[in-house]
């Protein structure tokens, strides 16, 4: 087997979103040689994603364009289009080039993990039907791909993306039949003080609401999906009222004929690298789930490893950029390339900026948090693990049979064993086990293993095999 192409630098940054981009720039400006890696063809991450189709590009000035220009000007090693599939104990990264299948390695000794978050969808009957797409996923379709998920669309779930997606769809002439929000109108009003700290975003929210009103799109507050129906794709979606904790409540259901449904219940921090490396983690409901324990500069319990952005706990794009800058500067200071008084001055500035962002960030994270009662109400025959078609009843049966944490449950059921490696179901599956066993801390999370990102078996080079990857034995039952 031929060896990988090796890049030797002072700092590797995984993820070129707001967090990783800011970290790479700050460290590079402080004099470190930096490699920035992202599997997308360009920097920007989820929120500042570059439109792939020129037609989808908006005329507005875009912070993503500014970031991309700064990164191009900066003398960094930009490794875009590469997926990081493994991280070694020495913090070396193994990369695969999506186009050519070439294997590369980045050797730095310092690593900023900024891989972002992914979507949480609380399962309901029919959620696996084609035409049902994630709410955050729908923002990618709309903003980046310039395509709508369907012609008649219901939008459901929680958090600000609901209104962003509904208004975005309506603005392109799609028939949005309704919006089902887990939150009550009063929940949004209570979040207002935090929203007021970001008047620009509050104004954007008001514009979304006004456009929904103008288009006559009904908003059902405190409603959630009961089921989706269809043969080879979604044809009908049914919503019903829920209580403050997300459990079904009495009251009329509403059915809609649709060809697409956008649904999302907040985001879950990726935390893949820090979990793989076994850095200390804690469970934090507001921040989306299991998050690495870090100091204010993103330093984890492992020397040389920093974790920032939504992958280290949901805080939104503005906080991600500030946290990334903090970690980039800390990496330079820890490497002895930034004097401690200079670092202290920068740290004080960043602390002040973060304090200004915090109320808004906490307010939005609160709107997107998981409602445990909604998970407890998942009907038994509903598929929870999409990859392996494992139902809630099978998960409950595994717990009945003695599984005491999520990894034991996984061995019993195959839940979380499929190609997504439990990224889509992990948070909900842990919540289901916890509902019968005890606190989330006690039931743990699926053990992280390479590959970090689900890369197809034959995306790898012909002379290279998964069997070549040293993989720790699964924990005994």
């Amino acid at each position: 087997m031929s060896g990988p192409l090796c890049h030797r630098v002072d700092l590797a940054v995984l993820g070129a979103g707001p967090a990783g981009g800011a970290a790479a720039l700050a460290a590079s400006r402080a004099g470190l040689r930096v490699a920035l890696i992202d599997e997308n063809p360009e920097a920007g991450g989820q929120v500042w994603r570059k439109p792939v189709r020129p037609a989808a590009r908006s005329a507005k000035a875009d912070p993503g364009e500014a970031l991309r220009a700064d990164l191009r000007a900066g003398g960094l090693t930009l490794l875009y289009g590469r997926t990081v599939w493994s991280v070694g104990a020495s913090l070396d990264l193994d990369l695969i080039d999506g186009e050519s299948g070439r294997w590369e390695r980045v050797s730095a000794g310092r690593l900023v993990a900024a891989g972002g978050a992914h979507e949480r969808v609380v399962p309901f009957p029919g959620w696996t039907l084609p035409g049902v797409v994630g709410l955050a996923g729908a923002t990618i379709l709309l903003k980046s791909h310039g395509v709508a998920p369907g012609r008649r669309v219901l939008v459901a779930g929680c958090g600000p993306l609901l209104f962003a997606v509904a208004a975005g769809l309506a603005g392109t002439g799609i028939d949005v039949v309704g919006v089902a929000d887990l939150a009550a109108r009063g929940d949004w009003l209570r979040a207002m003080p935090s929203l007021l700290t970001r008047p620009g975003l509050l104004g954007q929210g008001a514009r979304w609401m006004a456009s929904l009103r103008a288009a006559g799109i009904p908003v059902f507050f405190r409603h959630a999906l009961r089921r989706a129906e269809g043969a080879t794709g979604i044809e009908r979606a049914v919503i019903g009222p829920v209580d403050a904790e997300g459990a079904p409540a009495p009251g009329p259901e509403h059915a809609f004929a649709v060809d697409a449904l956008c649904v999302g219940n907040g985001l879950v921090p990726g935390a893949e690298v820090t979990r793989l490396l076994r850095a200390p983690h804690r469970f934090d409901r507001l921040r989306g789930g299991l998050v690495p324990v870090t100091d204010e500069a993103g330093r984890t319990g492992i020397p040389g490893l920093y974790a920032v952005g939504d992958g280290a706990g949901l805080r939104g794009a503005a906080m991600a950029a500030l946290g990334g800058e903090f970690a980039g500067l800390a990496a330079a200071a820890d490497a002895g390339r930034l004097a401690s008084d200079a670092f202290a001055r920068e740290a004080a500035r960043l602390r002040r900026a973060m304090a200004r962002e915090r109320p808004f960030s906490d307010g939005m994270a609160g709107m997107m948090r998981l409602r445990p009662a909604q998970v407890r109400a998942i009907p038994p025959e509903t598929v929870v693990c999409r990859c392996e078609d494992v139902t809630r009843a099978e998960i409950d049966a595994a717990v009945e049979a003695g599984a005491r944490d999520v990894n034991q449950m996984k061995q019993f059921t195959r839940c979380g064993m499929g190609p997504c490696q439990g990224r889509m179901c992990g948070d909900v599956a842990a919540e289901l086990v916890a509902a019968r066993v005890g606190p989330r801390e006690a039931v743990g999370s699926f053990t992280a293993r390479p590959p970090l990102r689900p890369i197809g078996f034959d995306e790898l080079m012909g002379d290279f095999d998964y069997a070549d990857i040293p993989i720790p034995e699964p924990a005994p039952l």
Partner: protein, 92 residues
């Protein structure tokens, strides 16, 4: 720019993402789930869920992170195969 989908030639725009091109032309169902054989389509759009794994030029690719190329040959038949399963199941 042309691609071939299950033997049929499609006209596509440069830069189109494969999953979006399929969706825009009404192909919602991309594969069958391995255990129940239930229809599945692109779900997360960010390369995580693997629901959009289909065969592109003979290799399994995630359609949502694959940009169309002239002459690309796409097959939805038999997608969701054991090859994809192996990538995740290994070491589990």
């Amino acid at each position: 720019m042309r691609i071939t989908v299950d033997g049929v030639e499609w006209q596509v725009e440069p830069g189109e993402v494969l999953s979006a091109a399929l969706l825009a032309r009404g192909r919602r169902a991309l594969r069958a789930s391995p255990r129940r054989g239930a229809p599945r389509g692109a779900f997360c759009m960010m390369g995580v869920c693997q629901e959009c794994a289909i065969t592109v030029d003979g290799r399994i690719r995630r359609a949502c992170v694959t940009v169309v190329r002239d002459g690309m040959v796409v097959s939805l038949e038999g997608a969701g195969s054991d090859k994809v399963r192996m990538a995740g199941a290994h070491g589990a």
